[in-house]
């Protein structure tokens, strides 16, 4: 971490000697806080999820008065069935692990986008819009040029990052130059991006020949992200190179934030914009820079959906990844490795949840509830402390700042 001659904008961590964990991750945490609390949080969230499954089983509830034994057995069956498929669908086979990776990849990339914003004191609600624009850029390069795969994939990814960066830099520029709040402008940019996608997918530039609905031309095979397990020749194992891109991006963000002067300045702006300004940093360009990088990361997430999974563009290609990314960044405490870990967790929940939805009558929405609960338990260590009587950090962390940065 940069210190010494640098201006006095200190990190909000304790001044104790750095542990190996701290060295590796850049956050000062005990093992308890780093491992035990998240594990207990996941466990608690699953327990609450089980209770929700039980009390929404209305057939069993009706039996509860007359035949409590059968009713409880039925409830247990529902819970067991749901969690069994949740596990099998996310880790039970090669295909399941592959699905977890496929789901996790864009979540990690978009989560990094939101996290880097938080680090700089900016609330990037606009990851969804940046995802859409980035995806459309990557899509266009994907079907319009004809080059070998080793050029096509990088070019398409680069285009996606560029599209996202442009879409992210606009709110950054507006904030820096005019003070327009990024929460408003990024929400508006999301809506605009949504309409642009609708328009372009029906325009002659994008629309597949002979289609009336908004579906784009398919991308060239050379632009598809190569399959990781292609040698197995199994079409159901979809894991692709995107996860490698996501991990590289996470390392890149880590390096940028914690090992470079620019990253130091990003964090300084987030920690105390006035301090940063008086220390001679150009707050204007730092804000634009942060938002451009955040946008680029979200753009990569959108490109991953197009180049890795769908191979063509449809109006819903981004799903709700940009919004899930906010929860995810919070869970990962806005740290790149935290984002990777929570991205994998959310990816596993989503992959398993889809399997659960197919095989039981429990809908995928249960996953959202579990995700929310996990974050609550982690964000409020006092709750975990009260339930399990373990020692945790005394104070809840503060990751975000108010409107007035």
């Amino acid at each position: 971490m940069s210190t010494g001659e640098e201006p006095q904008v200190s990190e909000p961590t304790s001044g104790e000697e750095a542990s190996l964990f701290e060295e590796l991750t850049g956050v000062g945490l005990e093992w308890r806080t780093a491992i035990l609390v998240p594990a207990l949080a996941v466990f608690s969230a699953m327990v609450v999820g089980a209770i929700i499954i039980a009390v929404t089983d209305i057939d069993a509830l009706r039996l509860l008065g007359t035949n409590p034994g059968t009713a409880l057995a039925e409830m247990w069956d529902s819970i067991w069935g749901a969690y069994k498929w949740l596990f099998l669908g996310s880790m039970g086979s090669l295909r399941a692990v592959s699905e977890t990776l496929v789901q996790a990849t864009p979540l990690i990339l978009a989560g990094l986008s939101v996290a880097i914003g938080f680090r700089a004191g900016l609330f990037n609600i606009g990851a969804q819009g940046q995802l859409l624009v980035g995806g459309m850029f990557a899509l266009f390069v994907g079907f319009s040029i004809h080059v070998p795969v080793y050029l096509h994939v990088p070019l398409a990814l680069l285009a996606g990052a560029l599209g996202g960066a442009i879409w992210g830099a606009i709110p950054g520029l507006l904030k820096a130059r005019t003070g327009a709040h990024e929460v408003i402008t990024t929400i508006m940019m999301n809506f605009i991006a949504l309409r642009l996608v609708d328009y372009y997918l029906k325009s002659s530039w994008y629309q597949a020949a002979g289609r009336d609905d908004p579906v784009s031309k398919p991308i060239e095979v050379s632009a598809q992200l190569p399959k990781l397990f292609g040698f197995l020749e199994r079409s159901d194992v979809r894991a692709h190179l995107g996860i490698v891109v996501a991990l590289l991006a996470a390392y890149g963000v880590y390096w940028l934030l914690f090992k470079t002067t620019v990253g130091y300045e990003f964090r300084a702006v987030g920690y105390n914009p006035h301090g940063a300004k008086y220390a001679g940093m150009s707050v204007t360009w730092l804000i634009v820079g942060v938002m451009a990088v955040a946008g680029a990361l979200a753009g990569l997430a959108g490109s991953d959906r197009i180049l890795g999974v769908l191979h063509r563009g449809t109006p819903g290609f981004a799903g709700t990844i940009g919004f899930d990314a906010i929860t995810l960044a919070l869970l990962g405490r806005s740290h790149p490795w935290g984002v990777v870990a929570s991205g994998l967790l959310f990816g596993a929940l989503r992959a398993g949840g889809q399997e659960m939805q197919v095989n039981t009558d429990i809908s995928l929405d249960l996953i959202l509830v579990i995700q929310a609960l996990i974050v609550v338990f982690i964000a409020a260590p006092a709750l975990i402390r009260a339930i399990y009587r373990v020692k945790t950090a005394r104070e809840a962390e503060r990751l975000t700042t108010g409107w007035s940065t």
Binding site: T56, H181, I192, R195, I362, S363, D365, A396, S404
Partner: protein, 420 residues
């Protein structure tokens, strides 16, 4: 006459004033070229001001030459720009901006409706209705942020209110539906307050989590229970109430005085909140808690109690606003039916500078933007519909960036208070 002859303005204010002036001129040129020249020879635009069912249904239509009206409006906007650049409007600046905005929209409508007829009353009526949940969300936000608690959870509160209103309304009728929706808002707000005020968890985290939780739980229950039991999701709508005499006024009566209770509640809430926040002891103390909690505490104001109570009142407003989707609009719950309107409400709150009247005005603009999409499809405007749909969002960005500028939230916004 003690006021100084020249008011000292900061460079930023001067820049903003100049930018506003230039914006007027650009808009004037746009109106002149696109709307004015574009509707030359297109004939007149006919605006219907009453409905066939109204008492004064023979009230004449407003018939205007489309090109002529565009030229007049372009001239007015150019004049605004000129005055803005030379001596400024001083205190009237915001009023003039609002007038300029309305004139521009009017020029647009005249151009779109040139040669045909168009129900102005219908569109404005729709605008007011669509602005209700946005305004309720914005007012809830004002309530919380005036005591320095950031409430991102408005979206979740609206959705939770709608969900409970649908189920309770199907079983026990509209009155209890409104009570239930309000209560669920209060409960969610209480959770926010406990975590944010007592446990001092980051307020934005709590808000995001409540949103995700409510979205997940309502969608889950909707799929698991409501889909198989449609009788649990079939609430009755609240009919519009016509206020005697006032409701018969042509045009305005239709828009303002023949509405369901949600619209009236919105107007009443804005009035009550404005009065209470700025003219009562409670309001002064609330604002003190938001601006400088330590000072308020020193003077004997119970900071925690004010934060708890106001946040819960905000929750009540948002929950009640959520019921609009059921009792005031469609009668049945759909997954994620609020579709981000809570966030638009948040934007309206910032846009309206944390003031109830400003928040409602901003909500009306968004409501108008929402309602315009359905109507313009009928008029065959030579612009792809997607671009029309994005226009209000674009306009918001331009207004927020160019005119509103650096809005100032309550000074302690988002910061937990630790009593020493």
């Amino acid at each position: 006459m003690t006021a100084p002859a020249t008011v000292v303005r900061s460079p930023a204010e001067i820049r903003r004033a100049r930018r506003l002036g230039i914006t007027y001129i650009v808009l004037a040129a746009f109106v002149l070229w696109v709307f004015g020249m574009g509707s030359l020879g297109e004939g007149s635009a006919t605006f219907k001001l009453v409905r066939p069912t109204d008492r004064f249904k023979d009230f004449p239509d407003l018939v205007l030459p489309a090109a002529g009206i565009a030229f007049v409006i372009a001239a007015a906007l150019a004049a605004f720009g000129g005055i803005q650049l030379t001596r400024g409007f001083k205190k009237l600046s915001n009023v003039v901006l609002a007038v300029g905005f309305i004139l521009f929209i009017f020029a647009f409508l005249a151009w779109a409706a040139a040669g045909s007829s168009f129900s102005l009353v219908g569109m404005l009526d729709e605008s007011v209705k669509r602005s209700v949940p946005i305004a309720m969300g914005a007012l809830a936000g004002v309530m919380c942020e005036r005591v320095a608690v950031i409430n991102i959870a408005i979206e979740g509160m609206l959705l939770g209110g709608a969900f409970v209103a649908a189920i309770v309304g199907s079983q026990f009728g509209s009155f209890w539906a409104l009570v239930g929706a309000t209560m669920v808002g209060v409960v969610l707000a209480w959770v926010l307050a406990v975590l944010a005020v007592r446990y001092r968890v980051d307020q934005i985290i709590v808000g995001v989590v409540i949103n995700v939780f409510v979205l997940g739980l309502t969608s889950f229950i909707s799929q698991r229970i409501l889909n198989q039991n449609p009788h649990l999701n079939n609430a009755t709508l609240l009919r519009p109430i016509k206020i005697p005499l006032l409701g018969d006024i042509p045009f305005f009566g239709q828009i303002l005085f023949q509405q369901n209770i949600f619209v009236f509640a919105m107007f009443i809430l804005v009035a009550v909140m404005t009065y209470s926040l700025f003219h009562t002891k409670w309001g002064l103390r609330s604002r003190a808690v938001g601006e400088h909690p330590k000072a308020a505490d020193t003077l004997g104001v119970n900071v925690y109690r004010y934060r708890y109570l106001n946040v819960m009142m905000g929750g009540a407003i948002a929950g009640f606003g959520g019921a609009f989707y059921i009792q005031g609009s469609v009668g049945r719950f759909d997954e994620n039916m609020t579709a981000g309107k809570g966030f638009v409400g948040l934007a309206a709150m910032i846009f309206g500078r944390w003031h109830p009247v400003g928040a409602m005005a901003a909500a009306l603009v968004f409501g108008f933007a929402d309602s315009i999409q359905g109507k313009l499809a009928i008029l065959k405007v030579p612009i792809p519909s997607e671009f029309l749909l994005m226009a209000p969002y674009l306009a918001t960005i331009i207004v927020v960036a160019g005119v509103v500028g650096r809005a100032r939230p309550p000074a302690a916004d988002g910061q937990p208070y630790v009593k020493e």
